[in-house]
Structures are given as C-alpha cells and as structure tokens.
C-alpha cells in the first residue's frame, strides 16, 4: 500500500514523462552528462524554456544538476522511474504476444548487450 508521498512522487514522474521535450532530454542524458546549453541546442524553443523543463525533471528527481562556475552540468538519475516501471508493468499480462519480446529485451540489458534499439 503506497503512502501519499509515493503517490505524489509517481504523479511527478509520470507528469514529467508526458512531455516530448522532457523525454528527449532524458534520452539524451542516457548517453552522458551535458550542460544546459548543450541540451538546449537541438530544440527550437528558447534556452529559458529548456531550463524550465530541466527544472521539472529535477523536481521529479530524474535529473541532478551540479553547477560549477558559470555552467550547470546535468546528469540523469533514473531511480525514480523504477516505480513508474513497476506500475506500468502490472499491465504486461495484457500484451502477452509482445511479452516475449519485452523479456528478451530486458534479458539483453541484464547481460549488458545492446538491445535492438531503433531510437533516433
């Protein structure tokens, strides 16, 4: 039985993941650490808008920022996604057909191989 704090944390994580810009930021940060300006570069929106998106990710606990001098280095913290993963995986029984694919894919990760990932 999750307490209210957990529920609110889940609110923030799912809400953070509901925006395509923020998902793209997390995908990028999965590759390493980046400065705010580096993260902002691919987007057509203003740097300030990206900065606010990063703040949303920080509030959800998904990103950690470490400021040294002028620059602010951003690092992924995927831990909070775990509860979201547990939540959505409760429904995996409904896509049995694709289930073998998912488990194989998770198995790939477990053995530190690269899954068939067509991500842009």
């Amino acid at each position: 039985m999750p307490d209210q704090t957990d529920e609110q944390a889940l609110d923030r994580v799912f809400s953070a993941l509901s925006d395509p810009v923020r998902r793209a930021l997390l995908s990028r940060l999965d590759e390493g650490e980046f400065l705010v300006s580096e993260l902002a570069e691919p987007f057509d929106i203003s740097l300030q808008a990206v900065s606010k998106h990063i703040q949303v990710l920080v509030a959800a606990g998904l990103v950690v920022q470490e400021r040294t001098g002028r620059v602010s280095r951003c690092r992924l913290n995927a831990g909070p996604i775990y509860q979201a993963a547990v939540w959505v995986n409760r429904y995996s029984k409904y896509w049995q057909a694709q289930f073998e694919t998912l488990t194989a894919w998770l198995d790939d990760i477990e053995h530190n191989r690269t899954p068939d990932d067509g991500q842009s």
Copy 2:
C-alpha cells in the same frame, strides 16, 4: 524511430497516468468491468468529475466504454500502456539491484501466478 503520432499517443498515455484518480480507476478496471457510477463511488469528488477522468482515459485509448440503455460499462484496454512500458524499461539498467525483483515479478505474471502485491 517513432513517428509524431506515436509520440503524441505516448504524451496522452503518460499524461493520463499522471493523475492518482485515473491510476486508481485503471487499477479498479484491472479487476473487471464497472459502470461509471460504480467507478465513481469510492471518490470524494463529483460523478461529473469522474466522468471527465474516464473521458481522458478513453481519449488515451486506455478505457473503452459501451453504453447500453442508461448505463455505461467501462472496460480496460491496456494495450496503449505497452509503449509506455517499453519507454520506461529502457532505464531498467539503472536499478540493477532491484532488477532481479522485477524480472521475478514479470516471471510470476508470465506463469499466471499472483505476484506479491500489497495493493490496496
């Protein structure tokens, strides 16, 4: 490489999951079919508010409604959650410690056993 339609579908699914009332509705519908009034009963908010939450779930493709006479029977359609599950499971490598728990849990589901589920 997901197309824009898929991205927007993911937006809607994650956004739908970001509200605790809607997550509770999905959990309930995982147990079977319910009328709108039955779904609304446990909540302190108005029936109309619950009806609107259900409409959000329908728009995300997570719930199907079938109206017969006065009543509207609601049924879970978990399929669209799959893409969200794939998305969050990309980050499973970051919680290796808990990973065995997750795979064991998925394995339980695969064999139609009941996982250790303390859900309210």
